[in-house]
C-alpha cells in the first residue's frame, strides 16, 4: 500500500503556476463577445500550457521523428501509395442476388422499415423506433408516441445497436466450458429440479409484468425458492425514502412542464435515471420562447459533483454529500414545514443566503414548484423532499405519486446480503443468475465469489461470458433486446413492449425463457410467454386487434400508472429533521461518492466502442475512469 501522507512522495505543486479565480477574471476582464478555451490552463495562459501547446502543435515546426530525411519520407510514401493503387488491379468478384421466395408485405428492397420496441436500463423501459434494412437493425431513435421518449433517446439506446453486432458476445451454451445444446440444458435442469429444491433466482431490477408473473409461478411451484434482485446502480434509497415519507412504497415522477421553480438535491434528473429523456424535454420546454408560459422556469441545483443538470441551473451550489441531509433539513425548516428543525452549523460556506432565496422562491410558487432528490441521495433527503412537496401542495400537480414500477421494490443490497448468508450456510441448491454479474458488481464486503463456489449448481444467463459465468456450471447466451420478445414499465408505468428486429444471432435466450424451464409446463418461447400473459390480462375479446396495435405503437395505450392519493406525514418529517440536526454537520475526513459512469454505466457497456469513445460530460474523458477531486482538495493541506 502506498501511503500518501509522506510529503516526499507527493509531486511538488509549488512549481506549477497557480491558477486562481482572480487571475482568470483579470484575463477575461477585457474580453468582448464569446471566447472559448480548452482548459483553465489555457485561459490563464500559464507557461506550462504554452509549452504543451508548442509540443503538440509546434509553430513553424518541420521536425520529423529521428533519422528520417524528407527525401526518404517522400520515397516511402510514394512507394506505398503506388502499391496501394495496385489493389485496384483485381477483377470485381461475382456477386449473388438473393431475392425472397415469398416477399413480405410492405417491404421495399433498398428502403428501411421502422418498428417500435423498447430497451430497459435498470429495469425501466425507454420507447424506441428501430430502423431495419432488409431484416437487419441499423439505427435506433426515440419513439415519438412513447411518453418516456417523445422521439428522443439517451446515449445508451443510441449505442445499443453496436452491442447487438458485438463479435465478443457469448455465442454458445456451455456446461463446464463444453458446448451444449438448449435441449441438453432443459433436460439436465428438469432432472435436477424438484419441488423441494432450494432454488434461488438473482436478477437485476424487474419491472416487466410478464417476467414477474413467470417468476412468481416458479416461486409458487417451488415453496423453498426465493427471488432476489440486485443492481449495482440501485435505486433503493428512493424506495426507502418513499417508505419513510408515506409508510408505503410509491413511485415518484415529475411534470417539469408545469414546474416554475425546481430545486434539485444532488439530482441529475436531466441526464440520468428513469425518465430523464422526457424530463429534459419537459424542463427545456419552459426555457424556450415563452408563448404558453409568461415566465421561464428557474432551477436551483445543489450537487456534490459537476453534472449536466448543474450546468443549466440558474443557481448552483456545490456541497459535500455528507452535508446534503443537513441542507435538506434546513430547507424544510425554511419553507415552513411544521416543527422542522434546521440543524445548527448548516450555514457553512455562505450557503445560508442561497438556501433562503431558494426557499422564498419555493414558497412563492406553491403548487407549481418541485423539490427533486437524486437517486443516490440518502433516504432521509428523499423523505424530506416528499414532505416539502406535500407542504407546498405540489403533489398531484408537478409531483405525481403512483404505485411502484418495480415488481419487487425493496432494499436490494440487503436482499443480496441475505442470499449470500444462505449460500454460506449451504442452504442453496441451485442459483440462477439472469442478466446480472454479481461476481463483478456485488459489494466487496459480501465476498460473493467465495460463497458462490459453495452452491451445488450455478447457472448464468448473460450477453457476455463475464466474471460470473467463469464461476458457473452452465452459461447461456442472452438475447439482445433487439432479438427479444419482452415487456417493461417506463418511468410513468406505461407498459412498453419489446419486439425482435432479427432472429437471435447466437440463439440467445431471454430471462422469461430461462425461467420457464423451472415451471411445470417446461420450456416455452419468449413470444408465447409474453402473448399468453397479456392475453390473460387484456381478455379474449378483441385481443388480437389490441395486441397488434400495442406492438405497432410499442406500448399498451393508457397503461401509465394512475396517481395514488398519498400524502406524506409531516410529523415523521419533523422527526427526521430533528435526527439530522443531532448529527455533525461538518464531518472530518473525505467524502467518497460512487456514481455510475455517464457512458459505461455499471460496467455493462465496457465493450461498446461508441460509448467508450463518447466524451463524458464536463470531464471530456474517454476510454477512462477517473476519481474526480475538486481543485481545492487536490492540493494537500500541508502545502496549502
Amino acid at each position: 500500500m502506498t501511503k500518501f501522507d509522506h510529503p516526499a512522495e507527493v509531486p511538488s505543486t509549488s512549481r506549477r503556476s497557480r491558477i486562481d479565480l482572480a487571475s482568470m477574471r483579470e484575463h477575461l476582464q477585457d474580453a468582448r463577445g464569446p471566447r472559448f478555451w480548452r482548459s483553465l490552463d489555457e485561459l490563464a495562459e500559464t507557461e506550462e500550457f504554452q509549452e504543451l501547446l508548442h509540443r503538440e502543435f509546434p509553430e513553424m515546426g518541420v521536425e520529423l521523428p529521428g533519422g528520417v530525411s524528407r527525401r526518404r519520407f517522400v520515397q516511402l510514401m510514394s512507394a506505398s501509395l503506388a502499391l496501394g493503387g495496385l489493389t485496384a488491379c483485381t477483377r470485381q468478384p461475382l456477386e449473388k442476388i438473393v431475392p425472397y421466395a415469398q416477399q413480405p408485405e410492405s417491404l421495399v428492397p433498398g428502403r428501411p422499415l421502422y418498428f417500435a420496441t423498447s430497451m430497459t436500463l435498470g429495469g425501466v423501459a425507454s420507447g424506441l423506433l428501430a430502423e431495419s434494412h432488409m431484416g437487419r437493425p441499423t439505427k435506433v431513435e426515440g419513439n415519438p408516441e412513447h411518453p418516456a421518449s417523445l422521439g428522443a433517446t439517451d446515449l445508451f439506446a443510441q449505442a445499443s445497436v453496436l452491442s447487438l453486432y458485438d463479435p465478443d458476445r457469448s455465442q454458445v451454451i456451455t456446461n463446464l466450458n463444453r458446448i451444449r445444446s438448449w435441449s441438453a440444458f432443459v433436460e439436465d435442469t428438469r432432472r435436477e429440479t424438484l419441488a423441494s429444491t432450494r432454488l434461488r433466482l438473482l436478477t437485476g431490477t424487474v419491472t416487466s409484468p410478464s417476467v414477474a408473473a413467470i417468476a412468481q409461478q416458479v416461486l409458487s411451484e417451488h415453496p423453498q425458492a426465493r427471488w432476489h434482485q440486485y443492481d449495482a446502480v440501485t435505486r433503493e434509497n428512493v424506495v426507502a425514502g418513499a417508505e419513510m415519507a408515506f409508510g408505503e412504497v410509491v413511485a415518484t415522477r415529475y411534470d417539469f412542464a408545469r414546474a416554475d421553480v425546481v430545486v434539485a438535491l444532488d439530482a441529475d434528473f436531466l441526464t440520468t435515471g428513469p425518465g430523464a429523456v422526457r424530463y429534459a424535454r419537459d424542463f427545456m420546454s419552459r426555457r424556450r420562447a415563452p408563448v404558453d408560459h409568461p415566465e421561464m422556469n428557474r432551477l436551483y441545483a445543489v450537487e456534490s459533483m459537476p453534472t449536466a443538470t448543474g450546468t443549466v441551473a440558474d443557481h448552483r451550489l456545490p456541497l459535500r454529500p455528507s452535508q446534503l441531509a443537513g441542507f435538506a433539513a434546513a430547507l424544510a425548516a425554511e419553507v415552513g414545514l411544521p416543527d422542522a428543525v434546521a440543524p445548527a452549523g448548516a450555514d457553512v460556506g455562505g450557503q445560508g443566503e442561497w438556501l433562503r432565496a431558494a426557499a422564498r422562491d419555493l414558497q412563492a410558487h406553491r403548487g407549481s414548484s418541485a423539490v427533486v432528490a437524486g437517486d443516490y441521495a440518502p433516504a432521509e433527503v428523499h423523505a424530506l423532499a416528499h414532505a416539502i412537496n406535500g407542504h407546498l401542495e405540489n403533489i398531484g400537480r408537478t409531483v405525481i405519486h403512483t404505485a411502484p414500477l418495480e415488481a419487487m421494490p425493496g432494499d436490494q443490497t440487503a436482499s443480496l446480503a441475505s442470499l449470500v448468508d444462505d449460500m454460506a450456510a449451504g442452504e442453496v441448491d441451485i442459483l440462477v443468475m439472469l442478466q446480472c454479474n454479481p461476481v463483478y458488481d456485488a459489494p466487496v464486503d459480501l465476498d460473493f465469489t467465495t460463497v458462490l463456489r459453495q452452491v451445488g449448481r450455478r447457472i448464468h444467463l448473460g450477453l457476455y461470458r463475464n466474471e460470473t459465468s467463469e464461476h458457473c456450471h452452465w452459461h447461456i447466451p442472452a438475447a439482445h433486446y433487439l432479438e427479444s420478445w419482452d415487456d417493461a414499465r417506463a418511468h410513468d408505468g406505461t407498459i412498453s413492449l419489446t419486439q425482435p428486429l432479427i432472429e437471435p444471432l447466437y440463439d440467445g435466450k431471454t430471462v422469461a425463457e430461462v425461467l420457464s424451464v423451472f415451471t411445470e409446463e417446461g420450456s416455452r418461447s419468449a413470444h408465447g410467454l409474453l402473448r399468453s400473459y397479456w392475453q390473460g390480462v387484456l381478455g379474449e375479446s378483441g385481443f388480437e386487434t389490441r395486441w397488434r396495435k400495442a406492438l405497432h405503437d410499442g406500448f399498451i395505450a393508457d397503461s401509465a400508472l394512475p396517481p395514488t392519493g398519498v400524502t406524506p406525514g409531516t410529523e415523521a418529517a419533523a422527526e427526521t429533521t430533528a435526527l439530522i440536526a443531532g448529527t455533525d454537520q461538518i464531518p472530518d475526513g473525505v467524502d467518497l461518492a460512487f456514481r455510475p459512469d455517464p457512458t459505461i454505466y455499471d460496467g455493462r457497456f465496457s465493450n461498446n466502442g461508441w460509448l467508450q469513445e463518447c466524451p463524458k460530460p464536463l470531464t471530456k474523458l474517454t476510454w477512462d475512469n477517473a476519481a474526480l477531486v475538486s481543485p481545492v482538495s487536490r492540493t494537500p493541506r500541508w502545502s496549502r
Binding site: L94, E95, I97, P99, Y100, A101, V108, P109, G110
Partner: protein
C-alpha cells in the same frame, strides 16, 4: 586497345531509345485497353444462372412490362428482383412440369431463395439510385440495352465512370418522355430539341460533383 563501341552501336542506341518510348507507350495502351475490355467490365458476357431466364421471350414475346417483376424501380434505389412467388403466378399453370423451372418450383416449395448471379454490379464505392433516373426520364434501355432482344441476360454497357459521365454531362442526348421509359423500341426523331425541352420540363439537374455517387 580496340574501341569498345563500334560504329553500329550508334544505330543500336537510337533504336533502343525510341524502342523504350514505344515499349512504354504500348504497355500503357495495353493496360488501358485491358481495363476497358469486357475482361474487366464483363460487358456483353453472359453469366451462368440457375435458371436460363429469357427476357427476349417474356418481354418481346409475351409483352410483360418491366414493372411486373422489377416492382420497386420507381420508389427505391434497387429495382428489385422478383421473389419466386412472382414466377409461380404464371408457372403454376404453364410449363409447370418443365425440368428447366425445377429450381423455381423448389424455391417456392421450400421457401429457400434462388441465388441469381448479379449481372449489373457497380463497385461498392458507388451509390446508384434507380428511382431518380426513372423519374427524370431515363429509360431502361438507355443503360440496360435492348433487354427485349436478349435471350440470356448480359451487361450491355461498360458501367464504367466515363460511361456514366457521358450522360451526366449531356443528359439532353439521352432523356426521353416519361411515357416511354419502359418502351424498349423507342427512338427519338429529334433528340436534341426534344431533349432540351424535356430537361426543362422535368427540371433535370444532372449532377457532376464527386460526392453524388461517391458518398
Amino acid at each position: 586497345m580496340s574501341q569498345i563501341f563500334k560504329p553500329s552501336t550508334n544505330t543500336l542506341a537510337r533504336v533502343s531509345m525510341f524502342g523504350a518510348i514505344f515499349f512504354l507507350a504500348i504497355l500503357a495502351w495495353v493496360l488501358v485497353t485491358l481495363n476497358r475490355s469486357s475482361l474487366a467490365t464483363r460487358q456483353g458476357i453472359v453469366l451462368q444462372q440457375p435458371v436460363p431466364f429469357s427476357h427476349d421471350h417474356h418481354v418481346a414475346g409475351l409483352g410483360i412490362s418491366c414493372l411486373y417483376c422489377h416492382t420497386t424501380v420507381e420508389e427505391s434505389s434497387f429495382a428489385g428482383i422478383p421473389p419466386s412467388a412472382t414466377c409461380m403466378n404464371c408457372h403454376k399453370l404453364i410449363w409447370n412440369e418443365s425440368p428447366m423451372l425445377e429450381p423455381v418450383r423448389e424455391s417456392y416449395r421450400t421457401g429457400r431463395p434462388i441465388e441469381w448471379t448479379r449481372v449489373h454490379d457497380l463497385p461498392d464505392f458507388v451509390y446508384f439510385d434507380h428511382s431518380i433516373h426513372v423519374a427524370k426520364g431515363i429509360g431502361c434501355a438507355s443503360c440496360h440495352g435492348r433487354v427485349d432482344q436478349m435471350p440470356l441476360m448480359y451487361q450491355a454497357e461498360s458501367l464504367q465512370m466515363e460511361w456514366c459521365l457521358e450522360c451526366h454531362r449531356a443528359p439532353e442526348m439521352f432523356i426521353r418522355p416519361r411515357t416511354e421509359i419502359y418502351n424498349m423500341e423507342w427512338v427519338s426523331t429529334d433528340q436534341e430539341t426534344e431533349g432540351a425541352r424535356l430537361i426543362a420540363d422535368y427540371r433535370v439537374q444532372s449532377k457532376l460533383s464527386c460526392s453524388v455517387c461517391h458518398r
